[in-house]
Symmetry: C2
Subunit: 413 residues, 2 copies
Amino acid sequence: MARLVLKFGGTSVADLDRIRNVAQHVKREYDAGNEIAVVVSAMSGKTNELVGWAKDASPMHDAREYDAVVSSGEQVTAGLLAIALQNIGIPARSWLGWQIPIHTDDTHGAARIKSIDSDNLNERFKEKQVAVIAGFQGISENGRITTLGRGGSDTSAVAIAAAIGADRCDIYTDVDGVYTTDPRIVKQASRMNKISYEEMLELASLGAKVLQTRSVEMAMNYNVPVMVRSSFDDPSKKLETGTLVCREENIVEQQIVAGIAYSKDESKISIRNVSDVPGIVAGIFGPLADANINVDMIVQNISTDGKFANVTFTTPTSDLPRALETLEAIKDSLGKPEIVSASNVTKISIVGVGMRSHAGVAAKMFKILSDRSINILAITTSEIKLSVLIDAEYTELALRALHSAYGLDAEEA
Amino acid sequence: MARLVLKFGGTSVADLDRIRNVAQHVKREYDAGNEIAVVVSAMSGKTNELVGWAKDASPMHDAREYDAVVSSGEQVTAGLLAIALQNIGIPARSWLGWQIPIHTDDTHGAARIKSIDSDNLNERFKEKQVAVIAGFQGISENGRITTLGRGGSDTSAVAIAAAIGADRCDIYTDVDGVYTTDPRIVKQASRMNKISYEEMLELASLGAKVLQTRSVEMAMNYNVPVMVRSSFDDPSKKLETGTLVCREENIVEQQIVAGIAYSKDESKISIRNVSDVPGIVAGIFGPLADANINVDMIVQNISTDGKFANVTFTTPTSDLPRALETLEAIKDSLGKPEIVSASNVTKISIVGVGMRSHAGVAAKMFKILSDRSINILAITTSEIKLSVLIDAEYTELALRALHSAYGLDAEEA
């Protein structure tokens, strides 16, 4: 017997048929003798509809009322799943954020969980009752409904798993696990059996949209093993597939590089012929930081005579207009440099905890790209990640070459 | 300055445009210096959709989960109206049943309000804040959401008005008041300025679908004046029209007959040639009561030789099949009488507190019908009501004749 949290996203509870399918997944785990808490999102599309209404009522809507409106979506699916479970003989009860309660701060629309009272749930587990919990929501100190922000149901699930000491948190989604890279681009991409929290965090923040970054951080902090699996698999069969996100030491066969991610959402800004005087870099990035613009990679080149510099950096494409505006405003103080931007760039990142202990991982990456005449526009590194910026047109070529070179290609079937 | 409860039904909050219109009604009353609590229903059609889903999830759905699902409809409109009010500069906050809290018993799906804690609302009135309250819902002793049953938002509104000591409860609906009879049938029907609780109760239970019976009972018990008015009137103008439901003594110009209602939802069952022995009536109506079948009017005729009786009674048409089944099962014990039923009957009722003190009201009714050769099939009376059963084809003729005879016809414009 284990204690499990099962989380089902919006596409998994999109209509009554899908909700009945979820009930079968829950039944399989329940019949195996487990104690089960289920966390559900709103039916897919429902949250967007509610958000649209709130915006229609007022573009500057009060976040507290927004939360009251939007949280109703998860309330509906929690009640419906409880009914569907009872209908197949599984004792179940729905739980809203305020009923458990899940205490959060009062940052409405993006609240953070402060504590979860597990007494109510533990009591029901003793009675063999399944708890069906509305994800994405909690209650603030002054009794108002809060929501955790988009994708918050993953965070709800992991937080509840931590609070009730669950053996595992299963995130059911529309893919059957985490892949070594995007299978739409690299046919040989394969599902990982296990991945460490650290690697998942790097991949999640790089845009592999399987898990919310916050939920992975929380899973790591509380050491909650998280299984990513598909709700579209036959619910009557024991699910063998999926990717387990867990501690590094629980992964026996460690790859040097676990996965390769890419992001097309970055833009490049080059500032050419800035006067190279002390403080000039601060003069550029200070105002950008003040304007809350995210800057990722930075490259600085000094002209041969040492008098001028070229500064290149990347920023999310969504921040690009504001970044250019900010730079235009300080252009004079920088000596009126030429400012050019480009959005046809891709950031490619290799991620793996093995990189800590293995030298030559970076050199190999540079050689592979160079062999294919792919120019590296910028580089950033972390302990377990190496990212390069390249022209977007080389994205597929680079991904395939790197995937193969780091030994990630699946065996041909 | 007054303290008001304004209640808006489903058609009044059917979409964002209608919700903005409601906000203007609230603004008018707020700007006049009143303290305002608003009670809202779900957008029209929304509750039916949620009920449909619950039924789809399981025909035998758990009433507790049904309540969790269905109560979300009012939650959405409460939040949206609060946003719409803030958008036009009115401080507002939404309140769900559990937040106030509105304590109910645990009869899920048809809960009764036990008490309402008005402290939170009173606190906000001091801050000049409008309270937007989700109607139709409360919280049970063990922390579960309850709903009050269909039309429960009227009851919520009146109960809140009683709890906060409101000067009046305004029920905004899609008609502009209570009429002396159905204006679709009688062109001369006129809107009443005032009607007593007792008369409204009789009319409400007779199918004048303006107000829920329970809400009128509660208004009477707590002496809450209730104004029925239209949300379709121009919200920018002070509303002069509407019908005030209040104590009898507050109505100066009392009509003998206040209104005339009719119901086509009744069926007639005749049992012919029952042996007229003691206990035979109990032998008929006992089993019907055991089967939870409502019986309204009863007429018994004895045959000339005193040996047989004919028993005729009415029942809601929805109960007719079960009533016939029940009678079939006891037919032998009644001496195998002939049992015939008819649904082409109408119950016409004249209602008025003046009937208590004025003789001849009934005689006048019988004469008017007799003059038009309308046969009376059955009669029932209460202190302030007189109902007759007639053939359905005479409905319009009878209504118009009675409406005119009791002086209710509006002056021609």
